[in-house]
Symmetry: C2
């Protein structure tokens, strides 16, 4: 039990600091102004990676055989953690043995969902180097997420430094085998132990990691999606673009209900003005490759309008597509598109391929979409499990992630 | 540290039970079908209140003087807790000393906001009896909330029995002084310790309690609200009608920003078809009393259309108003109403009074509402802090809550 991971008792000082944070909140620092005053307050300590204190485990875990790795089930020996208080800022970073958090039952993370997380992977390249993929994107997003729910922000570079040190310590858990990696889960929770609804006066950032296998151990398996018409994941002015715990629990039942009807995942729509716009799939972004009526091939995905998550994989696929598919005659667009548009394309044989994108699978090909009693064929031949774009994207992404292709996105630890 | 409050290791049995729950989910048990298969599965144990195991504290806390009680800051000696697993159902209920929860950092409540809560109060009447107010409403709502996020449901009556036993044990913490009470916080969290996004295979229900003083220790204080036009709390098809942690963290920053502009709370709107509908205020429901153009006095509040919380106080005020204000010529309506409508009423001197409603304050009078650069006067004379309806509602509600008026809503412990 990490006694010192407990929130400090709320002193008068931290209380008045909280009040100050509240009163000093500046309305327009980012586009949307939707954040609390943050930890960049010069009176508060920022992260000092050089102060990292390491306590190594005395009972190192055995490595599981690669074929027994299940996503998110078994973790490495250690965890990285940093406490924050409204009166002091970021306290000394620590790497300790992986261990339980001991928290008062009144702690605000249990009641009001003060929690924001990231998902990223560390890969071992053929020379044994450990590499992260675009960690700057994850840390920038985490800062946006935490600010949106009045949790503290932090210096991204210092945090990446710490995560690198942590991942390096755990390198023995990263399988060398291609397709395997270390899933890294940075998380921030509010730790104030009072039931009043307000900005948390203390928080805990921590990172845990688990070795994972390839999403498709025996090659792609195309999935079926059910378009969800009775529940909505996110809406303009909401928090669907932040990686908050709050966006996940409400998504489970629609996903389970899609499963009862034989679908692998549900597809989230957003209805407006009588149109059903395609937004996300389960916990991934979605891409559709269609041939337009004028013969133009278009790879499209929903825009970052606040209702979808700004996926790192989504961003990477867009960049690679612009670099490598545009010269082949593809048009790459971020725009709103509707189920009706997909349905029409499917009926007219203009649907080329559809795939989800996310950190876990990189790309996840879709064979069919159930929508209002119809079944849309996404263009995959019966004997194929992935279309050419999904197949090439996975290759391109893995070549960068595993360091075969030198690329600024791949950052050595 | 409650070692046994830890989630059990996920056995193969619980895993297959989870899979079954998922596959057996029935699509249409409630109106909206938005729930997972629940714990009413006859193969699983339901709550058995007779099995309650009590461990009394050996270090009872000193009582704080009444004037030092702060909402949600100091708790009683004990807590009630029940674990649930997908393979076994509800395990033996326990009352133990108040203590920390020790949870694996991968526990799903920290990552995906598997958490739903309730707020209710226990009052001491003039004969020393302890009384709960409409606990059946709270338990019914908690069951709706947990089902919506794939947490288990439970037998409400058995749970009320347990809460009564717990509250009775803590009766020394309930001040006898009028206006004081014991705030009771039932909470349910998902405790599965894996990062996969799915229905939790284990959960913990617990209840803690804290003595609280009156919301207005020196009488009503009317507040000012800022109508929030840049963020939206809830929307149709979302989870705004469930009492989930997920609905709270995203509300803090708009509230803090309203505070920077001198308002006490923010007022949530929902925009549709160019109209801005009034939904909720901060963490309360909202009532407006207006005189219509034809002279009819109307007490109105937003309907339960999925975008507002179904407040127990809201429901009680509506019932009392129908019983006691209708004979005086009032019209009581649950309907959508807009800021424009309020603005017009204010400008024409037809706004009689506005108040929030919730468990904490019962009623909270509103003096003015800032909206798009305008300041709406809610009808309170400068020398008054509450209108006649708010004043009478508080009296009526307290008479029932404190047992002065015998009423089926007030349930002796």
């Amino acid at each position: 039990m990490l006694q010192s991971l407990l929130p400090r008792s709320s002193t008068a000082a931290s209380r008045s600091a909280r009040a100050l944070r509240c009163l000093n909140a500046q309305p327009a620092r980012r586009n949307y102004a939707l954040q609390a005053a943050d930890a960049s307050d010069p009176k508060l300590s920022s992260i000092d990676a050089s102060q990292l204190e390491i306590t190594k485990t005395t009972t190192p875990r055995d490595l599981l055989p690669n074929d027994q790795l299940v996503f998110g089930r078994t973790f490495t020996d250690h965890m990285l953690s940093l406490e924050w208080t409204a009166s002091e800022g970021w306290l000394k970073p620590r790497i300790t043995p992986y261990q339980n958090l001991s928290l008062d039952p009144a702690t605000c993370v249990f009641h009001y969902a003060f929690e924001a997380f990231e998902g990223m992977k560390a890969y071992k390249d053929k020379d044994g180097n450990v590499r992260l993929f675009r960690p700057d994107m994850n840390m920038a997003r985490l800062n946006r997420s935490t600010a949106r729910i009045a949790l503290p922000t932090f210096d991204s570079e210092a945090m990446i430094d710490l995560i690198k040190k942590f991942v390096d310590m755990e390198r023995r858990f990263i399988p060398s085998q291609r397709g395997y990696s270390l899933y890294v889960r940075p998380n921030m929770i509010g730790t104030q132990k009072t039931l009043g609804v307000g900005p948390p006066g203390s928080a805990l950032f921590y990172t845990i990691a688990c070795p994972v296998g390839p999403y498709y151990p025996t090659g792609f398996k195309a999935v079926s999606l059910e378009a969800t018409t009775y529940a909505v994941r996110a809406w303009p002015g909401g928090v669907g673009n932040s990686k908050l715990g709050a966006n996940y629990a409400p998504c489970i039942v629609p996903q389970m209900q899609a499963a009862t009807r034989g679908f692998h995942q549900n597809l989230w729509l957003f209805e407006e003005g009588g149109e059903e716009y395609v937004t996300e799939v389960g916990t991934m972004n979605l891409f559709a490759a269609i041939r337009n009526k004028d013969g133009q091939k278009e790879l499209l995905t929903a825009p970052l309008d606040g209702t979808i998550l700004a996926g790192v994989t989504r961003d990477s696929i867009l960049a690679l597509a612009r670099e490598r598919l545009v010269p082949e005659g593809w048009k790459i667009t971020e725009r709103r598109y509707t189920m009706k548009e997909l349905d029409e394309a499917a009926q007219e044989g203009r649907m080329l391929e559809v795939f989800g994108s996310g950190t876990a699978a990189v790309v996840s090909p879709v064979r069919k979409i159930g929508w209002r009693g119809k079944m849309l064929d996404c263009g995959l031949p019966d004997n194929k499990e992935a279309g050419p774009i999904a197949t090439r994207m996975l290759d391109w992404m893995m070549a960068i992630q595993y360091g075969d292709e030198p690329h600024p996105w791949s950052v050595k630890v």
